[in-house]
């Protein structure tokens, strides 16, 4: 049974839950498949998938043992184009974070190409595979309708204050809040026009977000890694020690190196008070 990632806090538990493929992620909403296609804007709803090569079965593949051993995903088998879905996660306690997304997808999906950039996380895959990922990850608990954004371009918002409706800032105003509190998309992922609006539903409450987040954040009531879950930083410190050991002389024993023999850096003085510095 994999350990996935260290930590004894609920944040670490949430991270492991997101990563562990044996754990089913809670479904919070059910966005129609047609609406997901509409939001992604790669093809029109109902339009056939375009392909970049014939189906694998019809191709004469090279005599390669790896191709023989590894089954293609449904999209790859059909020869679909490679497309993407991209999420922006607000640093104000969105459930998922840019760091956890690729680790989650690499545990749960085959044939994916995620990339973490400044405040947004893209995943590229064959078109029908992308649509499946987009649907699942807009429906489930990793997505909050106000703190998570579906953004193909002009992605900024991750580290910006929320707007007056409590939504993450969006320079393209892709989304809006209905008077009843529902969040709806009025433009597609790249800010283009849609033939109809897509309603995602109500955001989670602040308490729920604080409970579900995978983010350590020493502010606004969030968990503080250094004191609330030092194990996480200790393992990072251990990895760093071991990397440095290997970079120096990988043929000696670790305990021959002068200095810390334990895991983590003990007695590190923290200057930041709880709650951070405003």
């Amino acid at each position: 049974m994999p350990q996935f990632t260290p930590g004894s806090s609920f944040i670490a538990d949430n991270r492991r839950k997101f990563m562990d493929p044996t754990k089913k992620l809670e479904k919070l909403r059910d966005i129609a498949e047609e609406d997901v296609v509409r939001l992604l804007a790669h093809r029109a709803p109902g339009e056939a998938y375009k392909s970049i090569h014939p189906p694998i079965e019809e191709l004469e593949e090279p005599d390669c043992s790896v191709r023989e051993m590894v089954k293609p995903t449904p999209g790859a088998a059909a020869g679909d184009r490679i497309r993407y879905v991209q999420f922006t996660d607000s640093m104000l306690f969105s459930p998922a974070t840019p760091r956890i997304r690729p680790m989650m997808w690499f545990n749960r999906y085959r044939g994916v190409d995620p990339g973490v950039l400044s405040g947004r996380t893209i995943v590229e895959a064959r078109e029908r595979d992308v649509e499946a990922i987009a649907k699942e990850y807009m429906d489930n608990e990793t997505y909050d309708t106000a703190r998570t954004g579906l953004r193909g371009r002009t992605v900024h918002g991750h580290s910006v204050r929320l707007d007056q409706d409590g939504l993450m800032f969006d320079a393209l105003r892709r989304w809006a809040r209905d008077p009843n509190g529902d969040v709806k998309y009025v433009k597609d992922m790249v800010g283009g026009a849609m033939d109809k609006e897509v309603v995602l539903g109500k955001p989670l409450s602040e308490d729920e977000l604080l409970k579900r987040t995978t983010m350590f954040r020493n502010a606004q009531g969030g968990a503080w890694m250094e004191t609330d879950d030092p194990e996480v930083a200790d393992v990072v410190a251990e990895i760093h020690w071991n990397r440095t050991w290997g970079g120096f002389q990988p043929f000696i024993k670790r305990d021959q190196i002068k200095g810390n023999k334990d895991v983590g850096v003990k007695g590190m003085k923290l200057y930041t008070p709880r709650g951070g510095v405003e």
Partner: protein, 439 residues
């Protein structure tokens, strides 16, 4: 020479045992005869584009397509006279009867393959390129009786922009290794070969492709001074486990995760294998129940991790039948392995570091490029030494032509020429046979 006592069993790309109890020293690039032949030929083979040369001369495009001087053109039938040109080149290049020299016509006279004899390389491998350039220039002047007033056109068409540009832009003589001025640093010559050339050479078979790529990377590490003394064992272990499918670990990891495994499954399988083999040992159990692992043999751990990394790339890229996920696969294989065990990722963090920058360069974020044109001689790829670039070659072998820079587009000539040489076409078998000779 450092004393290395480890032994491994070598397996081919289909999990068949090639040779048992192979001392690591027998796969060393400075000792193994097959590797020496491969590296030797890489630095001494030159391909001349005769059809291209004829076209350039007839168009006055004497130093490349944008270097046209109107009126300065020569209409000469180079392709039609290729046999004669080849024999003249051979005569000029040959040092003594029976040496390695050959000059063969390929593609009905459109191309000429020249192998320059070892004797011509006294200190600098560029002698292969310069000698072939000079010989082709002379052969053309003689064959077509070019006058003194037109000879410079031939010279410029063959040599390209040399000497204005020491990198010889527009030169019709292609060698696998580039001129020294194009190298990132000392010892980088063998790292300067785009992976597509190697993928085309092995007919897009992922494991032999990764092997051929790793032969060149590891040989370069020796030339860079990175595999000296106690560091040599680390390189040989990496090479054995990642490039040569030692103990069938690479094959098994791919096989067991091929049908429904994810990249993460490869990470966890590799960690379990390392624990079972005693390479990773529990160090301490933390409050949450998480166990931190340590190792008594960090070089062997690195070799296990390197094999796992290539397997993870193979599983994820082959599921997508695309080469593009190679940097992200490298990044998160290492990230998740470190988070799973507390032990360092491949090349002690350097593979993961290189994957960050190569993600940008392979996804058209910083300009046009693709994993197929990657090699180890670049600021975004060079830091992990030996283990990193073979993953790119494997990924391009698996790619179902989703990339603009596909091997068929960039490397047809190399595949045609090198694919006929047994050591290049079947590098895993060749290294095993070479090891047997010196065991």
């Amino acid at each position: 020479m450092a004393k290395i006592e480890d032994k491994v069993d070598l397996y081919d790309d289909r999990g068949n045992k090639l040779l048992g109890d192979v001392p690591l020293t027998a796969i060393s690039p400075v000792r193994n005869p097959a590797i020496r032949k491969i590296t030797g030929m890489v630095s001494r083979l030159a391909a001349v584009d005769l059809a291209g040369l004829e076209k350039k001369l007839s168009a006055g495009a004497i130093a490349g397509k944008q270097m046209v001087i109107r009126g300065k053109k020569l209409d000469v039938d180079i392709v039609g006279n290729s046999e004669s040109i080849a024999s003249q080149v051979k005569e000029m290049i040959q040092v003594e009867e029976g040496d390695e020299t050959r000059a063969e016509i390929i593609g009905g006279g459109k191309r000429l393959l020249v192998e320059v004899p070892r004797a011509r390389i006294l200190a600098d491998y560029s002698a292969a390129k310069t000698n072939v350039c000079a010989a082709v220039t002379q052969a053309l002047i003689d064959t077509f009786d070019i006058s003194m007033w037109d000879a410079y056109i031939v010279k410029s068409a063959v040599w390209g922009m040399y000497p204005q540009d020491p990198a010889m832009t527009g030169c019709v003589v292609a060698t696998l290794v580039d001129v020294p001025i194009s190298n990132e640093g000392p010892g980088f010559a063998l790292r300067n070969i785009p992976v597509n050339h190697l993928a085309a050479t092995v007919r897009k078979r992922a494991m032999p492709g990764a092997c051929l790529s790793m032969i060149l990377e590891e040989a370069a590490c020796y030339e860079m001074g990175d595999a000296v003394g106690p560091f040599e064992r680390g390189h040989l272990l990496d090479f054995a486990y990642e490039g040569l499918n030692a103990n069938n670990m690479l094959y098994t990891l791919v096989k067991e995760n091929g049908q429904d495994g994810t990249l993460a499954n490869v990470v966890y399988d590799l960690a379990e294998k390392a624990k079972a083999d005693g390479v990773a040992k529990p160090k301490v159990k933390l409050e949450s129940g998480y166990t931190v692992y340590s190792t008594d043999d960090l070089q062997l751990w690195n070799a296990y991790a390197a094999a796992g990394m290539l397997a993870a790339v193979m599983v994820n890229c082959a599921a997508m039948r695309a080469g593009q996920p190679v940097p992200s696969s490298i990044m998160y294989f290492n990230e998740m392995l470190e988070q799973e065990t507390g032990l360092p990722g491949v090349d002690y963090g350097k593979a993961q570091g290189s994957s960050v920058s190569s993600s940008f360069f392979s996804h058209s974020i910083y300009g046009g490029g693709g994993p197929g044109v990657f090699h180890g001689n670049h600021i975004v790829t060079r830091h992990a030494k030996g283990q990193f670039i073979p993953c790119f070659c494997a990924a391009m072998c698996i790619d179902a032509d989703t990339q603009y820079f596909a091997p068929s587009r960039t490397s047809g000539l190399y595949g045609e020429v090198l694919g006929t040489i047994p050591e290049f076409a079947e590098p895993m078998k060749a290294v095993a046979e070479g090891a047997k000779e010196i065991m």
